[in-house]
């Protein structure tokens, strides 16, 4: 039972990183991305390959993951964020599809559906993190670090510019802010952070394959952000604590697997709709002034 709770907390840490980084886009900048699972996957594959093929350690893998993740996002952000916001929804979906295709089909690198086994456990300051309890510490520490980075970022002048861009691009541009550069920068930062979660995941499970990084996963991460509260940095933590407990709770009800998976998705879908009606700002969110009807 304790090991079970430890596993749950490790996953909470990983998803808190994912959701916190996505919140920088969805909550603070008003940019909607459907590619966060792909970024998560890029982080996982990049650090797994760095460890397996280049023999890089945990920190090296983390760095590689962040750089590759940021690069992939920038590649898409630079063309699509130059134009209206909705283009990024489509472009990020495209990124999600292309990246998943790469994971599945570039078999010489990623081993396709079979995935990559035998990813080593991380060695941190000379200590091998090999059981779930030690991993809880690592996972939550990295989540806390991500939280602190995001807090510094959103409280800074750059954070205020982000909110200005979200509320009114023309006004922000009129005060001399480079709207496009700001949007590209935040997408890159968000993806670098999201890729860290992938690296953490790969070294924890020690095996990765493409199914963990599908569009459903992107939508799940989005639900975490929406549920917990956009524009509140603690929101993703609350969202992860609640939504990661749901599948575990469903396990206690005797529902066959073929029904349980769609049931979960139905629940996430329903949550998204209900929250838009009842509490669009999420559980922790502050109400924003609503648009005049």
């Amino acid at each position: 039972m304790l090991a079970y709770i430890a596993h749950y907390l490790v996953m909470v840490g990983i998803y808190t990183i994912l959701a916190t980084s996505l919140n920088l886009l969805v909550g603070y900048s008003g940019i909607f991305s459907l590619a966060h699972a792909a970024i998560y996957g890029i982080g996982a594959y990049a650090s797994a390959l760095a460890a397996l093929q280049l023999g890089l350690g945990f920190w090296g893998g983390l760095l590689v993951a962040a750089v590759v993740g940021a690069f992939a996002a920038a590649l898409v952000a630079i063309p699509s964020l130059r134009v209206a916001g909705d283009y990024y929804i489509v472009a990020s979906f495209g990124l999600q599809v292309v990246i998943l295709t790469v994971f599945i089909n570039w078999t010489s690198l990623t081993n396709g559906h079979a995935g990559l086994p035998g990813i080593p456990r991380p060695r941190v300051f000379g200590l091998v993190v090999d059981d779930p309890f030690k991993y809880v510490v690592l996972s939550l520490a990295l989540a806390a670090l991500t939280y602190l980075v995001c807090r510094r970022l959103t409280a800074s002048a750059f954070g205020r510019t982000l909110r200005a861009v979200r509320e009114d691009e023309i006004a922000a541009a009129a005060t001399g802010k480079n709207v496009v550069a700001v949007k590209i920068a935040i997408t890159t930062i968000s993806s670098a952070l999201g890729a860290l979660a992938g690296s953490l995941y790969a070294h924890y499970i020690t095996y990765i394959n493409p199914t963990s990084f599908s569009l459903d996963e992107s939508i799940f991460i989005t639900s975490l952000v929406i549920l917990g509260g956009t524009e509140r940095l603690a929101g993703p933590l609350v969202g992860s604590l609640i939504l990661l407990a749901v599948p575990e709770a469903l396990k206690f009800l005797a529902i066959p697997d073929t029904v349980a998976a769609p049931m979960r998705q139905i629940l996430y879908g329903a949550l998204l709709i209900v929250f838009m009606f009842v509490r669009p700002e999420g559980i922790l969110g502050r109400a924003r002034p609503r648009r005049a009807a």
Binding site: V26, F93, M276
Partner: protein
């Protein structure tokens, strides 16, 4: 060369399906500015409506298809009436409408997966499955019907938008909503009509795919996102653009596998899309969308 001709023909058929989705989605997006991803759910529902009408209610195929198209139009209308308009009444942001739409898409797809299982439900299409061989090209009557229906759907939509009073009201709302309201057009009713028409156009696409390879719950997501790619490529607000965009994507995907392995098919369209928006963000014929407009 024979292979190229076959791929060209298949591309045209697939492109017709994308085009039907794209003109419906483009009409809705251009008029309401809702990023209506639940269009994919309407696409999936249409297939199951036809399947149920044929196999459970034992209706003849043509009648079943008509029933399914009407049911889909009503479904689209209800989505606007019961979901989007309620959210707008509460002063929701556009992002909220998109998120609710995404939620509805996931919800409906998975309900279909539970009710009908994720496996394809085949329909009995009788003689439509007969092969037609034109030189090196192999098609079925269903494929030819697909292209014909896409052209007919496009023609009917253009005629409706240009000639009928309601169509003109849609165009008015699409080009200047405030002005349309000023001259006494009821925006809510025009939105409902737009959803009904747009959904009625997605329905044949969903049904035709189901007639070919069976109804599946999760196919709509891919179609609606490709439709949005087609609309952006064609130019937001332009129906001919959306039509061309859809056809172009179908051809691109299929001609792409002439030279590239087929598993890269879906990557090709999005790759080209990214290059395209750098070179020509307003699409083939669209109005310019500035960063701050939406």
């Amino acid at each position: 060369m024979d292979l190229a001709l076959q791929l060209l023909a298949t591309g045209l058929v697939v492109g017709s399906l994308y085009a039907l989705c794209a003109i419906g989605w483009g009409l809705i997006y251009g008029t309401t500015l809702h990023f209506h991803v639940a269009h994919g759910a309407v696409f999936a529902l249409a297939a199951y409506y036809a399947y149920v009408a044929q196999t459970w209610l034992r209706l003849p195929l043509a009648v079943a298809v008509l029933v399914a198209i009407v049911a889909s139009a009503v479904s689209g209308l209800l989505i606007d009436l019961l979901l989007y308009q309620q959210l707008e009444r509460r002063g929701a942001f556009r992002t909220s409408i998109f998120i609710a739409s995404l939620g509805l898409l996931i919800l409906l797809e998975n309900v279909l997966a539970i009710v009908f299982t994720p496996d394809p439900m085949r329909m009995d299409i009788g003689a439509l499955n007969t092969a037609v061989i034109i030189g090196p090209v192999f098609l079925t009557y269903l494929h030819i019907l697909t292209v014909a229906l896409a052209l007919a759907g496009y023609g009917a939509l253009m005629l409706f938008l240009k000639r009928s009073r309601w169509g003109q009201a849609i165009r008015a709302v699409s080009s200047a909503p405030e002005m349309a309201r000023t001259v006494g057009i009821d925006l809510r009713r025009v939105h409902l009509l737009t959803y009904a028409v747009g959904s009625a156009l997605a329905a044949p696409a969903g049904i035709l795919v189901a007639m070919d390879v069976g109804a599946e719950p999760f196919r709509g997501t891919r179609f609606v996102l490709l439709a949005s790619v087609g609309v952006i490529m064609g130019g937001i607000g332009s129906i001919p653009g959306a039509m061309l965009g859809g056809l172009f994507l179908g051809l691109l995907e299929n001609l792409g596998i002439w030279k590239l392995p087929s598993e890269w098919q879906s990557a090709i369209s999005f790759g080209v899309f990214l290059v395209f928006i750098v070179l020509r963000p307003r699409g083939f014929f669209g109005r310019t969308i500035h960063s701050a407009e939406i």
